[in-house]
């Protein structure tokens, strides 16, 4: 009986899928959980904030709201993103400890929304991804390309970003 239940549970969990918005930065493909993303904007310049570290590109006016824009490429310890015609800003909404936080992310291009079954999400490799392991939710494979699924809460934690800004200002 318990085995039957176990099988049923397994079947159920297999059916569960998660939706990710995929985008590229440089040659790499990334994914972020769809429910955390709000909209995608065309890049139309940002207002630079004085004295900010490189990962903080600036701020934009999002319908009356002043929203910081992050260069994810720098945040993930890569070279700064090179701006071009197709550069866009992904607006991300985080709810860290009841504190509502809206951020923009620079991306070279936004690809599509994909559905990935839970069991197809693989754990992050301990090394080799060149990304801090805690930033990675998992790795998915689609049409022979690897997609790094990012943990937005960790990658974009306002607390940590604030610490980085503080460190830069000192």
């Amino acid at each position: 009986m318990s085995e039957l239940l176990h099988q049923r549970d397994k079947k159920l969990s297999q059916q569960e899928t998660r939706q990710f918005l995929t985008f590229t930065i440089g040659e790499e493909h990334f994914g972020m959980e769809l429910h955390q993303t709000r909209e995608i904007l065309e890049y139309d310049g940002v207002t630079q904030v004085p004295l900010m570290p490189q990962f903080l590109s600036g701020v934009i006016n999002l319908r009356g709201e002043v929203v910081p824009v992050i260069d994810l490429s720098v945040r993930l310890e890569r070279k700064p993103i090179i701006l071009h015609k197709r550069t866009c800003i992904i607006i991300v909404e985080l709810h860290e400890s009841s504190q509502h936080c809206v951020l923009g992310l620079l991306a070279d291009s936004v690809n599509e929304v994909i559905e990935i079954p839970e069991q197809d999400i693989e754990d992050a490799p301990a090394f080799g991804a060149k990304i801090r392991p805690e930033f990675i939710l998992g790795i998915a494979k689609k049409a022979e390309t690897f997609i790094i699924l990012l943990d937005a809460e960790k990658t974009l934690s306002p607390k940590e970003l604030a610490h980085l800004v503080e460190a830069e200002l000192k």
Partner: protein, 727 residues
């Protein structure tokens, strides 16, 4: 309004009454009171008890009832106000506060609270009326329906005509609770329920109240007390209370005013015992006579006013003036602060949009449009100011709180301290007032603990034995200043210097001005107290105070003379939401300088620039200045990079003043005045100094609002480190 919402109102009102009780107790403590003061405190206690009764919060009712009795005796001059009693009443007030915060269920489990309550009551016993040792029992006896026909005519009988709102039940108010409460005030002689409005069963809604009540009440309570019963419903209900002295005419006037059929109401009133057949008939006769008289002498026609009704009205007018605290709720509307904030935000958007339209209109060059836009701007400004006013509250509320703090702390420290309050009516943004509590408490406690000396010490240096502590608020150049001053021993600069060197905050060689040394006490981990008390001196605090004040875009200034006393001045902007600013540009970045800090704008090149130093000579005065593009390291866009830094034109200098500091801010371009809606940059930018927030310009671009005090500090620090290097 649901029951929860009604309860919220109860808590809010109870809080207010407790505050007013505290306020009055402080007056009693100082011996500054009269009959009215005693009446007020009695009423506060009574209202808390009454409202608690409506919500069946028995634990509050029981305790408060005793306090009410004691206060009643005090106002009847049966007992005298003495320090012992006042001290006890302070504790009782605190106990009521604790009770209000505790639900009935929690109370039943909370043995210590029950014990402390019982303990207080035992201590109070010398002042409790002996005739009423178990008051609740007495009341229960009163409740017994003992209708005595003889008494009926002799006793004072109030007539209460209740037309509660039909939504009453939906609002969580059961008419029964009012009637129960009334029966606690005295004896209900008769209740007549009027069911005229009861609909057919098809239209019946179980949550709607269809009944009206006519109540005859025999009580010694006064009008205000009876009125208070209906405090929660009086806004949307028709409640008429006729005093026992009311004449037949008053009743007739009431009958006319009520929606129900007059004949039927007469019957009801007769049933209540409020009217009798004879009196009615008599009244009719009188009326006819008066009408006949009136028709005869039409010239000086004064319609006969119902006397008692008029009296009750007059009475209630008087009450209104007397107990402003209690009446406040009539004239004020309570609103959820979120709704207010939302309104302010929307008005902020309106201001931004208005600026956009302004910009578009000025490019169109259509005179009619420009005129319309001009009007629009005027109104927007008025709406903005009116809306911001909604959020302004008097600072006195928070100042009052410190009377108690000072009293208790002085007792604890065994010092004699007198608190003076000035400018309590100064208004400040509600958000700021809320955040000011902690920093003020800390500064005040510090002043009492470290500043003011014990009595013997004061006397030995020839000061009056009572330490003087002053809390003042006033306006100064678009800011609100809160000054906390004492006539204590002052701050010893040498002690600070020693301590700072000891703690490696400064080096021994560093030359600092007195002001800079004073400011070291805001350094994290700095504490000058040699002994740590539970009040202050834990070394955490002053840095938190500074941070709190800075988070409100404010600054702190310290003045102190050794042996004479110290003064802390907190300078705050009037509001955080919308400010008048001056739009400037440096490189490609737009900045806003708060208008209130600007004294003038000058052309930098025309003034003597003192070579090698960031100073200019302004009418013979040396003024330090800083360049925005330098301090923020603005390099312009990469494609516009200047080959030589010196070729950047530094033409305009804005002279700003904050407190005693004057400085110049060099910018590239001046645009002009602009209304700015402050948009906080968010937690990520918390550590960014010199920029207080951002705002949107008419064209949608983002500009940064300069934080002048922080910029001046940055300039001073930079100057310091320069000096350091030079040394």
């Amino acid at each position: 309004m649901s029951l929860d919402a009604a309860l919220e109102t109860f808590y809010a009102e109870a809080k207010e009454h407790l505050e007013s009780m505290e306020h009055i107790l402080l007056q009693l403590d100082e011996g500054e009171y009269n009959d009215e003061t005693l009446n007020d405190i009695f009423r506060s206690a009574h209202t808390i008890k009454g409202s608690a009764g409506i919500f069946a919060l028995e634990h509050i009712v029981e305790f408060t009832h005793v306090i009410e009795n004691v206060l009643d005796r005090a106002r009847e001059n049966e007992i005298t106000i003495e320090t012992k009693l006042v001290n006890l009443l302070f504790q009782c007030r605190d106990h009521i506060q604790a009770l209000v915060k505790t639900s009935s269920e929690e109370f039943n489990d909370n043995i210590s609270l029950q014990e402390s309550g019982a303990n207080l009551l035992t201590q109070l016993s010398p002042w409790i009326n002996e005739q009423e040792p178990s008051s609740t029992q007495n009341e229960a006896e009163e409740k017994l329906p003992a209708i005595n026909q003889e008494n009926l005519t002799q006793q004072k009988c109030w007539h209460i005509s209740l037309r509660l709102s039909s939504d009453c039940l939906k609002n969580g108010m059961d008419p029964i609770s009012f009637i129960t409460f009334l029966s606690g005030l005295g004896e209900i002689k008769h209740i007549e329920t009027i069911t005229d409005n009861f609909p057919s069963i098809n239209n019946y809604d179980a949550e709607t109240l269809y009944f009206a009540y006519e109540i005859s009440l025999s009580t010694d309570a006064d009008l205000a007390t009876i009125e208070n019963t209906f405090m929660f419903v009086q806004d949307d209900s028709d409640i008429t209370i006729l005093s026992p002295e009311a004449t037949v005419d008053d009743y007739l006037a009431l009958i006319d005013a009520l929606p129900e059929d007059n004949q039927r109401l007469r019957d009801v009133f007769i049933k209540c015992g409020s009217l009798t057949e004879q009196t009615l008939a008599q009244a009719h006769k009188n009326k006819e006579e008066i009408e006949a008289l009136n028709s005869k002498s039409q010239r000086d026609e004064v319609p006969p006013q119902p006397k008692a009704l008029l009296e009750t009205l007059k009475n209630s007018d008087l009450q209104q003036q007397k107990s402003t605290n209690e009446r406040k709720s009539n004239k004020q509307i309570r609103i959820d602060s979120d709704r207010l904030d939302n309104l302010i935000n929307l008005i902020g958007e309106l201001v931004i949009n208005q600026q956009r339209i302004d910009l578009l209109a000025s490019t169109s060059k259509n005179p009619d449009l420009l005129e319309a836009v001009d009007d629009f701007e005027g109104f927007t400004e008025q709406i903005r100011d009116a809306a911001l006013k909604l959020r302004m509250v008097q600072i006195g509320g928070i100042f009052q709180r410190f009377k108690r703090v000072v009293r208790d702390t002085a007792q604890e420290l065994n010092k004699e301290i007198e608190l003076h309050i000035e400018g309590a009516e100064t208004e400040l943004d509600r958000l700021m007032v809320e955040k000011l509590g902690d920093p003020l408490t800390h500064i005040i406690r510090n002043a009492m603990d470290h500043g003011l000396e014990p009595v013997e010490q004061r006397v030995s240096v020839g000061k009056q034995s009572t330490g003087q502590l002053k809390l003042a608020a006033y306006h100064e150049a678009g800011h609100v200043v809160i000054a906390i001053s004492d006539d204590g021993k002052g701050i010893d600069i040498e002690v600070i210097r020693r301590k700072a060197i000891e703690k490696n905050i400064i080096s021994a060689e560093m030359k600092l001005t007195d002001n800079e040394l004073f400011h070291l006490i805001f350094h994290p981990g700095f504490s000058t107290a040699s002994t740590v008390t539970n009040l202050s001196g834990r070394g955490v605090g002053m840095d938190v105070v500074k941070r709190n004040v800075e988070s409100l875009q404010g600054s702190i200034e310290i003045n102190s003379t050794l042996g004479k006393g110290s003064e802390f001045k907190i300078r705050l902007p009037l509001t955080l939401a919308i400010i008048d600013g001056f739009h400037v540009q440096s490189q490609d970045t737009h900045f806003i300088i708060p208008q209130t800090t600007i004294t003038e704008c000058i052309d930098l090149t025309s003034h003597q620039h003192i070579e090698g130093r960031h100073c200019i000579d302004l009418r013979g005065e040396m003024i330090p200045f800083l360049n925005i593009s330098e301090i923020f390291m603005l390099n312009g866009q990469p494609n516009q990079k200047m080959p030589n830094k010196k070729s950047i034109p530094r033409e305009e200098l804005v002279i700003v003043q904050f407190g005693n500091d004057i400085a110049g801010i060099a910018v590239d371009r001046l645009y002009g005045e602009i209304q700015t809606v402050v948009k906080p940059l968010g937690p990520i930018f918390n550590s960014l100094k010199g920029i207080g927030g951002s705002t949107l310009l008419g064209n949608g671009d983002i500009a940064f609002i300069l934080d002048i005090p922080q910029l001046i500090e940055m300039a001073i620090n930079r100057d310091l480190s320069h000096r350091h290097l030079a040394n």
